[in-house]
Point group: C2
Chain length 230, copies 2
Amino acid sequence: MTAPAPRPAVVLLSGGLDSATCLAIALDDGFTPIALSFRYGQRHGIEVESARRVAERVGIEHLVSEIDLRTFGGSALTDEIDVPKHDDVNDLDDTVIPITYVPARNTIFLSFALALAEVRGATDIFIGVNALDYSGYPDCRPEFVDAFQTMANLATRAGVDGAKPLTVHTPLIDLTKADIIRRGVALGVDYGLTISCYDPTADGRGCAHCDSCLLRAMGFREAGIADPAQ
Amino acid sequence: MTAPAPRPAVVLLSGGLDSATCLAIALDDGFTPIALSFRYGQRHGIEVESARRVAERVGIEHLVSEIDLRTFGGSALTDEIDVPKHDDVNDLDDTVIPITYVPARNTIFLSFALALAEVRGATDIFIGVNALDYSGYPDCRPEFVDAFQTMANLATRAGVDGAKPLTVHTPLIDLTKADIIRRGVALGVDYGLTISCYDPTADGRGCAHCDSCLLRAMGFREAGIADPAQ
């Protein structure tokens, strides 16, 4: 009996709750993940360190690419604009695109994932986008991901050679935050290693008042699970 | 009488012949170009310097983004693989993807252009891809560009707000190298500022034997024009 051939997959890993769950799902699906994170002029380096710990915990390869979006500006996550703070998750307005939206960020991240996938001979990319919690971000919607996949298959050797087409997996796309947490806990994700905050404290703890902290807290509350990062 | 409002456009500028012509066309079309170049772990920095001179000559803004594709490897342009050399343009084989193909390069470049366009409120991107001379590169084909444009309009605020959609212009896509040169000369492009070589000499001259040098020489020959960079 021979072991099945490894199936490499590029998994975008931010250090947050969603992408850690996405990684666990890729592993559970039998892939050999190559995790890819970015330093893109974020306000803080804590999330890349969280990603490193998440990847290390499951013993997979982890690459960090440097890209500088600060040259362009335009987002509270990379600029000197203040991150909006709220007291309650109900104060969030999902009918407008948040100021924390980074222009074309997921397009850029997926493009790097595509390059890495092509170099490594991987035909699978995982991204932990979620259409419910982040409906304000245009590049978290299923129609965006579908269009990226179509484009990606025309951009690469697959489109010329007729090789196995590339698939962009979005296992979290229709899940609520509570669903994601339940799924991750069932798969053994240690959420104590993750950080979701847009504006963490100097000692690496969540601020508890940005959109991302409020959505995370609501998710754990709804799942009936204590957040180990708190 | 008031002057017409400026129409900003992001123009990808490599320092080569094609993108310099593309920039001249964008200017001739009445756009106010913002030129965007990349340091992406190329073998040489000469092309970014050429891009700077081309942008300076026409007095437009020029941004250079740093992205490191060397982490991924996989191309003779970023790796320590030798650039193939030939004696004659007829030795080029356009039925296979050249080793100088950089995985997902145009996807990554266009993604950065998309981010910059969104931040600057531009709805037009120019890229000097050409389907005839570079038929071996999957990401130079019209169907790739069309798919990118579709994806881009779903990735950004335009896709949510119903703002003016983004257009990716490829004015060179169906031109021969000789056509491109004739068009550029008519628009006053100084090709002496451009560099097309994949593997230039230490003093910044073309090697005369890589695919790109051979295609450039053939283009000038067919156009009946002397190459001012020689």
